[in-house]
Each structure stands twice: as structure tokens, then as C-alpha cells.
């Protein structure tokens, strides 16, 4: 079974890469100036030597770096990611608590950008020489070039403050106490603006890529053959051109999917979405080493998983790849 041995090999490599990433990140974040004790003392507005020493001792920061690394890594090997210094909660609990919100947001953005991007790209390719095609391309260039935070702020100003159609921020309505379907609907309404904002950039990328790819495939001989043999244009577009044009899209989708955990910091911040991206940014600012390393670990894990998944999808989309890889 070539799949099994391929995947096994990848898993072994993945574990090594993950451990290497952890060690590298460990030294990287310890190289940043300031430590969590100093940050907490700074926030307290007053401090003395005893306070700092108490904190460092409680956090184990009074030990040498190699000892700290050894303690951390041996914990991780037993799937113990330690405690967040600042929030006094297990890192794993904090991450698992925030993960669903982020996956919902990035997942929705992923689906939106992929679906609408491919659709718009296909339309643009079919109407390449008509004004409607140019309009699609113009819009996609605009979305591609506009900074995310600006789109987010404008979306809030227009749809929440001025029109009052959609909530400005948050995951659900505070104090509403919705349950069941009403709750789902409430979350969905809150999801619209952040998911669209986050999805716009990749939607634009998919649109441009699909169009280019389809146009180049449509020049190839087998498409001419299909036309010559009198197939319906719709069938040619779908089965001959689009399917062959999809490979670069899959590559990019794999990259986007890999960013699902950590790639939404800005969107989560502007929309106060209670996800991992914000948790990561705050942990970085507060030098909450354990929490930060834990989040890095999950980000890396997801990137590796999606790379593997992308490889499998390649083979499904284009059976020729299997032979060359074996």
C-alpha cells in the first residue's frame, strides 16, 4: 500500500519537525526582552524585589534556560503543555476553549473565499473579453490590494454603526441567553462580517488564479479536441478546463487552511472574536511563554496536517501524480 508507507513516513518527519519547531520557538521567545514576571510587576504599578523573586520562583523562571527547556519538553512529550503564568489556567484548557471560535471563523472564511473565488474566477475566464469579466477582475484587484484592518473597520462603520444591520463585534449577543437554534442564528449573524472580511483577500487570490489557470488550460489541444468533437461548452468548461485548472488552487487552499489557527489575529482583534489569534497576540505581549509555545505548537501541527491532506487531495484531483511520486 503506497499510501500507508507514504503517510507513515510523513508522520515520522512531522514529529521531528514539530519538536524542532518547539525548541527553536523556545529560544526565540526567551530572546525577547522582558519576562512575564517583569510584565506582571509592571502592570501592578508597584513592585519590590521580593515580589519579582516570588513570581519567578512560582513560574520556574529562576532556573537556567536548559533546565527550563528540559522541563517544558518533557512535559510536552506527556502532552502536558504547562500552565499559563498570567491566567493561572492549564494551557491546553485555554487553547481548547478558544479553538472552536477560531475554527468557525477561519473555516467559514475558507469556504466563502474558495467557493466564491472559484465561481468568480470561472465567470471571469468565460467572459474574459467582455466588460463583466473586467469588472470581476477589477473588484478582485481592489480586494487583493486593500489592507484587512481597513476593510474590517469600514465594514463595521457601514453595516453596524450607520446601517445597524449587523452586530459590530463579538461572538454572540451579550446577556441574551439564547439557546438552541436561536443561539446558532445569533452566532451566524455575528459571523458574517468577520468571515467576509477575512475571506475577501483569499477570494480575490482564488479569483485571479482560477481565471489565469483556466485561460491557459483552455488553449491546450485537448480542449480543442473536445470542442471539435462537439461537446457542449458548459461540459467543456466544467470537466475539461476547470478540473485541470484546479491544481494551483488546491496548493493555495492548502496554504490558507494551514493558517486557520493563527492567521486571523487582525480580524479577531477588530471584531473582538474570542479566538486563538488574539490569545496568541496577548500571550506574546505579556511574555506568557508556556501559552505562546502551546499556541505555536497547535499552529505548526495544523500546517503539517493540511500539507499532508493537500498531498492526498492532489492525488485525487490528478491521478497522474501518484505514479510520479511512487
Amino acid at each position: 500500500m503506497p499510501y500507508v508507507s507514504l503517510i507513515l513516513g510523513r508522520v515520522v518527519k512531522a514529529v521531528i519537525v514539530l519538536l524542532a519547531i518547539l525548541v527553536f520557538n523556545f529560544f526565540l521567545i526567551h530572546a525577547a526582552p522582558g519576562d512575564p514576571a517583569a510584565v506582571m510587576a509592571g502592570e501592578a504599578g508597584a513592585t519590590d524585589q521580593q515580589f519579582l523573586e516570588d513570581l519567578r520562583e512560582r513560574f520556574g523562571l529562576d532556573q537556567s534556560l536548559p533546565v527550563q527547556l528540559w522541563r517544558y519538553m518533557s512535559g510536552v512529550l506527556q502532552l502536558d503543555f504547562g500552565y499559563s503564568y498570567r491566567q493561572q489556567m492549564p494551557v491546553l484548557d485555554l487553547i481548547l476553549d478558544r479553538l472552536p471560535a477560531t475554527l468557525l471563523l477561519t473555516g467559514a472564511a475558507f469556504v466563502i473565499s474558495l467557493a466564491f473565488g472559484i465561481l468568480a474566477g470561472t465567470l471571469a475566464a468565460m467572459r474574459a473579453k467582455r466588460p463583466s469579466g473586467s469588472i470581476i477582475m477589477g473588484l478582485s484587484l481592489l480586494f487583493y490590494a486593500t489592507p484587512l484592518y481597513w476593510v474590517a473597520m469600514m465594514a463595521v462603520l457601514v453595516f453596524s454603526v450607520t446601517l445597524d444591520w449587523l452586530p459590530a463585534y463579538g461572538y454572540s449577543t451579550v446577556g441574551a441567553g439564547y439557546t438552541g437554534l436561536t443561539h446558532v442564528g445569533d452566532v451566524a449573524v455575528h459571523l458574517i462580517l468577520p468571515a467576509l472580511t477575512l475571506g475577501l483577500f483569499f477570494m480575490a487570490v482564488y479569483t485571479r488564479m482560477t481565471r489565469t489557470s483556466m485561460l491557459s488550460v483552455s488553449q491546450q489541444d485537448f480542449v480543442k479536441t473536445a470542442r471539435a468533437k462537439g461537446l457542449a461548452p458548459g461540459v467543456i468548461q466544467r470537466r475539461h478546463i476547470l478540473r485541470n485548472a484546479l491544481l494551483p488552487i488546491i496548493t493555495l487552499a492548502g496554504l490558507q487552511a494551514g493558517q486557520m489557527v493563527g492567521g486571523a489575529v487582525l480580524t479577531e482583534t477588530v471584531f473582538a472574536w474570542p479566538g486563538i489569534g488574539r490569545l496568541m497576540y496577548e500571550a506574546l505581549m505579556q511574555r506568557d511563554y508556556n501559552l505562546l509555545l502551546g499556541i505555536f505548537f497547535f499552529c505548526a501541527l495544523l500546517v503539517i496536517l493540511f500539507n499532508m491532506l493537500t498531498d492526498v487531495i492532489y492525488r485525487l484531483a490528478d491521478p497522474r501524480i501518484k505514479h510520479s511520486a511512487a
Binding site: 463585534y169 451579550v174 496577548e282
Partner: protein, 521 residues
Amino acid sequence: MTLLSSVTGRLTAAALAFAAPAVAQETPQPGGVANVAIQPEPPGLMLPLVQNAPTQRVAGNIFEGLLRYDADLKPMPQLATSWDISDDGLTYTFHLHPDVKWHDGEAFSAADVVFSADVFLRETNPRTRAILDHVDSIEAPDEKTVVFTLKQPFPAFIQAFEVGTLPMVPRHIYEGTDFYNNPANNHPIGTGPFEFAKWDRGSVIELDKNPDYYEAGKPYLDKIYWHVIPDAASRAAAYENGTLNVMPAGSVENFDIPRLSEMDNSCMTEAGNEYFNPFAMLWLNNREGPTADKRFRQAVMYAIDRDFAKNVLWNGLGKVPNGPFSSTLASHDDDLEPYPYDPDKAEALLDEMGYDGEPVRLLPLPYGETWTRWAEAVRQNLEDVGINIETESSDVAGWNQKISDWDYDIAFTYLFQYGDPSLGIARTYLSSNIAKGSPWNNVEGYENPQVDKLFADAAVENDPDQRQAMYDQVQQILHDDVPLAWIMELAQPTLYRCSVHDLITTGIGLNDGFKNAWIEQ
């Protein structure tokens, strides 16, 4: 339409119906919900353990101190209904309110006060620990009386009983436990007007009305929701569209304040700033480089256009200080002549000392857009008189580290005053307070035996006139020596919907809780 927005919609309608003049002398109405911005998210709500600003703001509703302070910083009753200070200034006797219960139903007693001050806070809170160094013993002669006996007179002691400095801790929960890992830290138990209900991390902290609160009829509000919104512009939008009705100081960037306060049904107050009165300063490294020269430091004072910063960057809010003491302190010397904006004088002083263009590093405070712009303005002022400035930037942790390690030439900061020079001011000038590792002590490295003696003597001087004489003298010396540059007494503007009444009733401001606040229905 959601429930929340329909509530706020009704509130807005109600507020419009009652035109402005009618609202002054209304009787409080029970009911209603406060929706308040909070940023950054507090790391925890166990106020006696965690002293950072957002924790104090939220948990000031859950916990209480023995006293509160009015806008003139005079003590007011809270958990203590009355108190006596002996004539020799050594014995402080507090009589506790008879009917106070913890949120779990246990009775609050003098033993809780002794445990909180003598055991818990001595271990966990460095600021309180320093104050309690003046205390010889804390005793509870009966259930409802506490006696603090001091080693020597320390008149500032009576300023130290607000909730952020001496919060009461439930002895029956914490005694004999590991304070930092007590499960109650995640569900704090206090005596305050509101109880902890729920915390969705990253989204909202929910406090419920304490139905058994010992002051009859209070609190008026049913709930307080603290909305965690990390982006300042998003917080402004949430206030604009009516989701939030209270915006504590610092919730929005300064340049948004005029716009938001001019909206319909939007009010703004600077009250509640008196106790903390954050004082913005430039640390000037007295140890080395050009800043070690007094003439250079004086030149900095002349070179900086402090009125410009106040009027342009802070929208005219705040106050340009005349010297090292902030104007809300009783011991402030009103006669001190402030340094005027005088670039020529600054240049003359620089010439006199023979400043040769040696680069001087400027470290801004990474607390948002206003502070960044302020650093740019100061840089320009200093460059105008010929000082060669190199701006360094960092995040908060890096800023902390540089200040604590004395690795700067000029650095922005601000410090709280805590109602008395011996609590908030002396710490920045006493040579005994020079120690690496803290950004809040004498980090500029100023050493003056005369100043040391004056501050030390004034702190323990029981006679108000003699104390004032010492403080006048110390202000004069510091004013001339310029150990650091005093650039602004910061305003703390609170924005709120005008239908919210009695939001701030003490000199401690929002940190004192929403006990008296009510919403016009």
C-alpha cells in the same frame, strides 16, 4: 432585533424623552444593565492577588475596602462605619458595619480584616506591604472592631484603605491555603455590591447584583457586563451604536473623545481621578550622558511645549503641572512657578553646559496612538533646541525591561499618586529606592541626602504645619534639580450615556464600583 439592542433602544428613547434640565434631582430607579468596555482583559479577578488596572476596575465591584475617599480625598465610610485616630497618630481604631456578609453567606468580621492586612496582603501585594511596614500590630478586640498600632506616626496611613490597596479577603476561604492556587480565585468571593457570575474568556465578564447587600436598596443595577474588545476603534463603534453605555478612561483614543462626547445622549466627566491622578513624566537618566547634567535636564523642561501637548494631543484635558507634586494633593505648593516654554533659554543652558550633540535616546510608552504622537511632539521640541534625539521603540515588556535595567536616556512613563506624597511621590526620589528590577521606583538614579531626609521626616511628622513646611521645601529643591521632567497631570475622561446617573461618586472613580449608579428607565 436582539434583546440587548431593544433595551438600549428603549433607554435612548427614554433619555430623549427626559430633556436634559429635568434629570438633576431624580430619585434612583432600580433595574437596568451597565455595558462597560474593558481593555485589556484582566488576567484574573482576585483583586487581593492581582493588582493590574483592568482587574481593579472590574473587581472593585466584588471586593471592598474599609474606607472610600471623596473628591477631596477625605475618608468616607465603607466596611468601617466610623474610625478614630489617636492624638499621637499611633493608634487607628475601625468600627465595622454590623450586617456585612460575604457573597457565600458567611458573616464578615474583624478577623477577616486582620487576616487580610496582616497575612494575605503582606504576602501578595508589594505596595500594601510597604505601607504595612509602618504597622506594628493589627488586632481585633471584638468581632466588629479592628485596631492598627503603628511603629511611628504615619499620617498617610488613613489614605491606604481603599479597595485597590487594602481589599478585604475572606479568611474562611483562604486561611491556611496556597493563595495562588486556591480554586476560589476563579470565582472570587467579596462583600461588594455585585457578585461574580460568569466569565467567557475573550468576550465578556458578567457580574450580578448582590441581593443581600448591606446598604438597603443598593445596588440599583441588575447586572454589569464588561465587554472585552481589544481594538480601540471597535470600542468606539460599540459605544456609537449603543451597545455599550459606559466607557472608562482609556477605552478610546483621545482624538475620538470630542466626537463621541458630542453625540446625542452622551456625557463625559473627568471626575473620579483625584485619588490616582496619573502623572506623566519623562525619566531622565541622572547617572550618565548629557541627562546627568542638571542644566541639560532644565533645558528639557524649557524646551518642551507642554501646553501644546495638552491642547492638541489631549484635547485640552488634563493639567500642566508646576512641579513634582500633582495639584490634587493637599500638600501641593500652589506658589511654585512652572517652567515656561522657552526654547531660547533651553538653548542657552545647552550652550553653557557645552552640549556637543551627543545622541540622546528617547523611549516612548507603547500605550497606544496618543502616546506615540506625544513622543513625536517631544522629539520635535527637543530637536528644535539642538538636542540630537534617537527614538527607540519597543513593546510593553521591552519598555519595562529597559526602564527596570536603567537602559535609557529619556523615557516616558506615568505614575499614580495614591492621595499622599509618601505613598505616590517619595518613591521616585528617595535614594533608598534605587534598585534595578522595578519600573516604579527611583529609576532615574537621583540622589540628594537633603531630599531623602525631608521626605523621610515628612512621612512620619504628625503635625500638619511642620509637614507642609517640609513638603514646600522639597518641592522647591526638586523643581530646581529636575530629577525628571513633569509633563502632564493626565485627565481620565469617562464617557457614558447620559441616562446613567451617579456613576462616579468618589475620588477613586470607576474603580470604586457601581454601587450608586442607576439608569433612568
